[in-house]
Structures are given as C-alpha cells and as structure tokens.
C-alpha cells in the first residue's frame, strides 16, 4: 500500500525546501537557543534558595529546660536563615500543633514533625518514644524528607541510649555509686543548658543550585519541535492549493505514500532539531541526561512523532495556508506554557500540573523532568511514553481520515 522509496523521496524534497528557507532555519534552529540562554539565566536560582526545604518541628511536651524534645529542636533549628548556603534545608520551631495540622489538612503545608507529650519520659525510661510525622498524602517528596529527618533523630537518640544502657549495666556490676555519679553528671549537663544531643552538619563538596538548563532545554525542545511541525501544516496546505499534491497523485503515487512522505519529512525535520538541541545542550550547557539517557532520547523521538502527526492533522482540518499558520501558532503558544515548556511543571500549582496533561507537552516535560532532575529510570517514564503514543495515534488517525490532495 505504501511505497517506501517514494515516501523517502517526498520527505527529502520537504527537507530540501526547509533547508532553502533561511528564515525557517533561523526560527527553528537558532532562535530557540536565544530563549534557552535567556531562561537559563532567569532560572539560575531555581533549586537553591528559592527552593529551600523547610522542616517544621513542634513538641507537645511541657516547656521545661530538661525536656529532650526541646533540646533536640534547639540543637537543629536554623538560627539564621540568611546564613544558609544554597541547597541547605531550614528547620523551624513551631508552637501550635493544631494550627500546623490545619495547615496540612488545607494543603498550605506539606507536613511537620511532632514530639509527643511523653517523649522525654519514654527515652529516659528506656521504653522508647515515637516521633509523629504528619504529612500531606500528595506531598510524597516532602513526606519522604520528613521521614528521613525523623529517622536521623531516632537513630541518634538510639545510639545515645545504647551508650547510656551500657554504662548502666557496667555500673550495676561494679558500683552503684558510679551510676549515680553518671546520672548526676548527665543531669548536670542538662541543667547547665548544654544540649544532650549535638547536631553537626558536615558540608561535603559544594552544594550547587539546580542546573536550569536541565529543564529549560527539554522545555524549549518540546516547544520548538512542536511549533515547527505545527507550522509545517501551512506548507502542506499550500501544496494542496497549488496542486503539487494532485500532481504527485497523478503520477502513480498512492494516497498513503503521500501522507507517509509528508509525515516522514516533518518528522525528519523534528529529528534534526532534536539532535541539535541535545548536542548543544550537552556540549555547551553541560546538561545531565540522568541515569537513563536512552529514555530521554526515546521520549524526544516520541515528541517528534506526536508533533509531526499534529502538523499533518492540522493541515487536513483547515482550508487555507493562512488559517493553518494562525492555528499552528496559536496552538503552539497555548500548549507550550500549559505543558510546562516555559517554566518547570513542578513549581506550578497542582491544578496546573493536572491541566498540563491535556497536552503532549505536559507529558513530555514531566518525563524529561523525572529523568533529568529526579533520577528516574526507564520504567518510571513508561506512562509518559504511553501517553505520547496515544496522542500520536489520535492525531495520526484524524490525519489519515481527513487527508485530501485537492483544495476546497
């Protein structure tokens, strides 16, 4: 049904036309990098101070200087926020448990740690105590961070308890007087106001802010690959209007071959854009493709295919080349911000992240962010890949159904 050699010849012809169009070359190859450089600069702080992780801690113990939870919070709370380095988290002491809980329920706060009323007693008596982690079910990352902090605190206390117990056992065997003196000494420390738990932070290497090009380049790749493909609908309609498609059809070329050729040509242009984007990204911006570079490439390829399908589909839905150009521009400029091409989706509100899923851009960007920012592997982005395949099938089916070679 399809004539592969002719498909490729039609695609080559489209590529030749694209290369001859210097304005298009500038707009779709060089122009995007002006945006990349500009937004790379604008987003230079994202992931550092602006994206600081803030832990809220509250204790239900009565406020006495000997309460262990007070000692812990005092040891780890941030005394001066302005002194924090990029990437360092902030610990804030809170007073009102009920208010914090309300904020979590209202999704104003991701979560907090709470020390129970009998925390010190449980620890001192050796029966243990629980730190309560209160977190929004949807704030997965934040909850994980709170668990990490709680684990850190409990293992720290655990280590001290082991030492304390060892001393107690030793004391029982050798001399009850020694035990008394140790307990007295410990008590003396607490009374003197020195923290029982010491909190030290060791900075290993330089803490760097998130590299903005890791989300700026994929975002603009998605936007401009889609934009170029959508605008190719204009050229397809023009071919229909000046009867070149009809001329091809009259020379033994089948309808599906023409569709295949146009699609291949559009997709090939997208692949060229994709290669240039990643090459420049790696060589000039030092972007990190994450632990699954193959997944990044496949996701890019799927975005190219989706975009080409959209371009051919759009050409079948409009009558004039001017109409195609207008709708293509409108679609590209609406879907790009909606789909997270202009700013990373993870800094947008939940409803906007949800809305982004109506565009292929949203799925592609989410996949790129997972792979290049959050350490996801191939399997983690399978839903995004599947979504792009579904978009391709929908756009492609409409294109095949509506495709015609004649104007009118």
């Amino acid at each position: 049904m399809i004539q592969p050699r002719l498909v490729w010849l039609i695609a080559l012809k489209d590529l030749k036309l694209f290369i001859r169009d210097r304005l298009a070359l500038f707009f779709f190859i060089l122009f995007p990098f002006m945006f990349v450089v500009m937004f790379n600069f604008i987003y230079a702080g994202v992931g550092s101070e602006d994206d600081r992780l803030v832990f809220h801690l509250v204790t239900l113990e009565e406020e006495t200087e000997t309460a262990l939870s007070y000692q812990i919070i005092a040891a780890i709370e941030t005394p001066d926020e302005s002194a924090l380095q990029p990437g360092e988290s902030q610990v804030v002491r809170e007073d009102d448990y009920d208010e914090l809980r309300r904020q979590v329920e209202d999704k104003e706060l991701g979560g907090f740690l709470a020390f129970p009323v009998d925390f010190s007693e449980g620890i001192y008596m050796g029966r243990g105590a629980e730190i309560e982690v209160v977190a929004d079910a949807e704030a997965v990352s934040y909850r994980a961070a709170l668990y990490g902090l709680a684990d850190g605190i409990s293992s720290w206390i655990g280590a001290n308890n082991v030492v304390e117990k060892a001393i107690s056992e030793l004391a029982k065997e050798q001399a009850p007087a020694i035990l008394e003196s140790i307990i007295e000494a410990l008590g003396g420390q607490l009374i003197a106001g020195e923290p029982l738990i010491e909190y030290t932070s060791e900075k290993v290497g330089e803490v760097e802010a998130e590299q903005p090009s890791n989300f700026v380049i994929p975002g603009y790749l998605v936007m401009f690959v889609f934009f170029a493909a959508a605008l190719s609908s204009e050229a397809i309609v023009r071919e229909r209007q000046n009867h070149t498609l009809e001329r091809i059809l009259a020379s033994s070329v089948r309808r599906f071959t023409i569709i295949g050729g146009i699609f291949t040509g559009t997709a090939t242009k997208g692949l060229v854009q994709m290669i240039i984007f990643w090459a420049v990204g790696i060589l000039a911006f030092n972007i990190d493709l994450g632990i699954a570079p193959a997944a990044v490439i496949i996701l890019s390829f799927l975005m190219v295919i989706v975009s080409a399908s959209f371009g051919v589909m759009l050409a079948t839905l409009v009558k004039t080349d001017r109409g195609a150009g207008s709708i293509a521009t409108l679609a590209a400029l609406i879907m790009a911000p909606l789909g997270g091409c202009w700013w990373p989706l993870f800094i947008t509100p939940q409803w906007m992240q949800f809305l982004s899923k109506v565009t292929p851009h949203g799925w592609a960007n989410e996949g790129f962010n997972k792979l290049m920012l959050f350490g996801a592997d191939f399997a983690d982005v399978a839903p995004e890949m599947l979504a792009l395949v579904i978009f391709t099938i929908i756009f492609g089916s409409i294109a095949v159904w509506r495709f015609r070679t004649a104007a009118g």
Binding site: N242, H243, E246
Partner: protein, 249 residues
C-alpha cells in the same frame, strides 16, 4: 478507423448540489490533439481532473490505453502526464530539481530522471536555466517548466489545462511548437484553452462544453461550417453562437 486511445463514458460529477459534469462521453484518437473548450464553469477542469485520476467520478468510467480507470488506476497513471492550469511547482526549488522530483514520482530512476529533465528543459528552451529557482523565473518560463514536468516519464497521453494563460507571445509560441513536436512524435494530447485561435491552430478535433455537457464535437473546419463558410467564420463565432453571449463567473 483511428484507434481510440481514451474513451470517456457517461461521466458525472457533482459538488454538493452543483452538477459540474453531467453525462460527458467522448473518445480521443491516438496521436491527435483533442481540444476541450468552454466558458468558465463549463466543467472542463473537472473533466480533466477525472480523466487524470485525481478526482473520482460519481458515475461513468474512463478507459485509457485499454485500461479502465476504475479497475486499473495505477496502469492508467503510468500512461498519462498532467500539466494543470495552476503552476504546480515547488517555486523554492530549481527547475531541474522540480523535473527530477516529479520524474522520480513517475517511477524513473535517478539517472533516468536527470537525463529526461535535461532533455525536456531543452525542449522548452530552458536548458541554461535548470539550476535557477522557479520563483525567480518569468511567468512564461514558469509555464514552460510546468509543461516540461508533465513530460517526465514520456507519457503516451498528455493533459494540458490552459498551458498558455498569461504569458508573452514568445513563450506561447514556444509552447505551441513544443506541442506540435510532441504530436509529430505520436503523443496523444487533450488540450483546454480560452484562446480560440490557439485551438484552431493546434487541435485536430474540438469538443465544446457548457453546463457540464458536451454541446458540440467535430473538427474546427466542420464546427465553423455549421454556422457559415469556414473561410469567413472564426472558431470564436462558433463558440459564442453555441454558448451564448451572457457573462459567466
């Protein structure tokens, strides 16, 4: 009796409620130039689009070189060349690139396409301009390239839909000479035009269409003889008598 190379039988085509072609039947003999004349909206272009397989008739069939268009469209396409009324060219590409591309579409190898492209460009007097971009060409040059593209693949039947619209006398004369040369080589040609003297000069037989139907079909001499002494009557007189003097949109 001359061999019938193209036979159109009872062709019908409607667009929404408008009947563009309404029961057209005729035959074109092998090696002749057959003229299809008619005022605007008569159905000429729709008929040519059906004959060249790009538009499916609502009713009727066409046989070209013994192949039915309905059953053997690919075989029919291998026999025909189309020069549409519009400049169906890639104006951003060179003349040679256009010819080679459409030659490849017609099934020629790369080498064959290049050789034929050079031959046909020479035929229309553009052998020196092969690398020039079409959008830099004059109207006459573009028309000649449009004709040269239709010749790629050496078709046996050529459809020429108003190939001389809006061009200078020199280019028009070049096209006439090219068409006459093709006829001398045995090519069958279906020709539509609004220029009556052109049809009178080139066509062996002429069909006049109006309202989607053929209202007269004969040699130019016989058509003229229908309304007066052929030496004193022009084809335009015949045309106006048959189709009327009212304006057409």
């Amino acid at each position: 009796m001359p061999e019938e190379y193209l036979v159109a039988q009872d062709l019908h085509k409607s667009f929404n409620e408008h009947k563009a072609v309404n029961g057209v039947s005729f035959a074109i003999h092998k090696g002749e130039i057959f003229g299809l004349l008619g005022p605007n909206g008569a159905g000429k272009t729709t008929t040519i689009r059906m004959l060249s397989t790009v538009l499916e008739p609502d009713q009727g069939d066409v046989t070209i070189g013994g192949h039915s268009m309905k059953r053997e469209a690919d075989a029919v396409r291998n026999l025909i060349g189309v020069c549409p009324q519009e400049l169906a060219l890639y104006v951003e590409l060179g003349a040679l690139d256009n010819l080679v591309f459409f030659g490849r579409m017609a099934g020629l190898s790369s080498q064959e396409a290049k050789e034929q492209a050079k031959t046909h460009l020479a035929l229309v007097g553009l052998e020196e301009r092969g690398k020039g971009r079409i959008d830099k060409f004059s109207g006459g040059m573009k028309r000649r390239v449009n004709l040269a593209v239709a010749l790629m693949g050496h078709p046996e039947l050529l459809f020429l839909d108003e190939p001389t619209v809006g061009i200078d006398p020199q280019s028009r004369n070049n096209i006439y000479e090219t068409i006459e040369g093709l006829r001398d080589k045995g090519m069958t040609i279906l020709y539509t035009t609004h220029y009556m003297e052109e049809a009178d000069r080139l066509c062996d037989r002429i069909a006049i269409m109006d309202g989607g139907q053929i209202i007269a079909l004969d040699t130019p001499h016989e058509l003229k003889a229908q309304i007066g002494p052929p030496e004193q009557v022009t084809l335009e007189d015949v045309f106006l008598k048959l189709t009327g003097r009212s304006l057409r949109d």
